[in-house]
Symmetry: C2
Subunit: 219 residues, 2 copies
């Protein structure tokens, strides 16, 4: 994969001839590494090597490692614009529309790598200031509040998010087969009803546990 072709050839320092998009190659290498190994396990030296370039050049283009991370994180979609559109047409079918939006974003390679980078790096560390937490809260949760009954919006949407983040984990992080290769339409058929139920099913009662369930494992 190492991108550069005639890169680390001759002796001496100074500018090297060819490569017209070195900056781009560095960014691509960084994205791959952040997406695959997270922030902590990514080393600037490895990124540089992968781009066929001296580590100092990485610092020349992007500043610190944090800056590089932020640069690699640019996500080509804005949830704050797209998510409300899903709910504009009302709750009916919103589950399916939301899931289709979710899948279209995650199946897009340009969006997938930065998202993976964000998720992998965020789940590694604890703390309220985690980027992912803020991202979910302000990019997805906030813009939806208005579309649902005020006092139920949060927990309904978080159930939705729980199912979607579960897909992220199993399908895109762990790549469990056959789930990871399941066609989009099949996935929609399976999980859209789940999301729809979380969105508009009546609040569950503190139901009498009469139905069929034994006391499972408790303790």
């Amino acid at each position: 994969m190492t991108a550069a072709d005639g890169a680390p050839a001759g002796r001496g320092r100074g500018r090297r001839p060819g490569g017209p998009d070195t900056r781009g190659q560095i960014l691509a290498a960084a994205r791959h590494s952040f997406a695959g190994k997270g922030f902590g396990a990514t080393t600037i030296r490895a990124v540089a090597a992968d781009a066929g370039v001296d580590p100092a050049l990485v610092h020349h283009y992007f500043g610190s490692k944090d800056d590089l991370f932020l640069a690699a994180l640019e996500i080509p979609v804005d949830p704050r614009r797209l998510v409300p559109q899903v709910f504009e047409a009302g709750l009916d079918g919103a589950g399916e529309r939301l899931l289709r939006l979710f899948l279209s974003v995650w199946e897009d390679p340009h969006a997938r790598l930065p998202l993976l980078a964000l998720v992998r790096s965020s789940l590694g560390r604890e703390g309220d200031e985690s980027l992912l937490r803020q991202g979910i809260l302000r990019m997805i949760l906030e813009p939806i509040r208005s579309a649902l009954p005020t006092d139920e919006a949060d927990h309904r949407m978080q159930l939705v998010i729980s199912q979607m983040s579960g897909l992220v984990v199993t399908r895109y992080l762990l790549v469990l087969e056959p789930l990871a290769s399941m066609p989009r339409e099949d996935l929609v058929a399976w999980v859209a009803p789940t999301l729809q139920r979380y969105l508009d099913a009546p609040l569950p009662r503190e139901r009498g546990v009469a139905s069929s369930a034994g006391p499972g494992a408790s303790g």
Copy 2:
């Protein structure tokens, strides 16, 4: 939190008097750190400091950092025994029984920390040999194969796992409120039906998209 009391007091090396369970305190500190920051971001020096102890002592009790990690990972339940019990009584209500088992394990503090450590550390890195992948496959997926139709077992169970891992992420890693504090019974009422549907709902047809859904966002 730093566990040791009269620990780093006087001068000189040699054995210190009191603390009867230094080893235990080290292990506890290690668990907290691994669970909170994952493997990579956990430093032996920090663990030692947190236990009020010299880093070399960590190596004295547990060997390398890997060994310490494995020691911190001891999970007091064996899914290979418990999971099949869920399916012994048949598929009816298995969703709820499985979810209750899942919750009872994750709500147990003795199990939660090692599990968090495993999850946090595994999601940080790519690769087939990831402990978590292996764990899920062999601890959960394998023992269940026999309880479902052979050709559907894998994708049905992986859908189940997707919802459960989504709960892990939102409830235990990100601690999204109010989901994180939702009472067990409410959670069961909301998501047990989801699991049950993944387990025994008829295979979705390549249905005509006539119902209510527009073409969402594509591309």
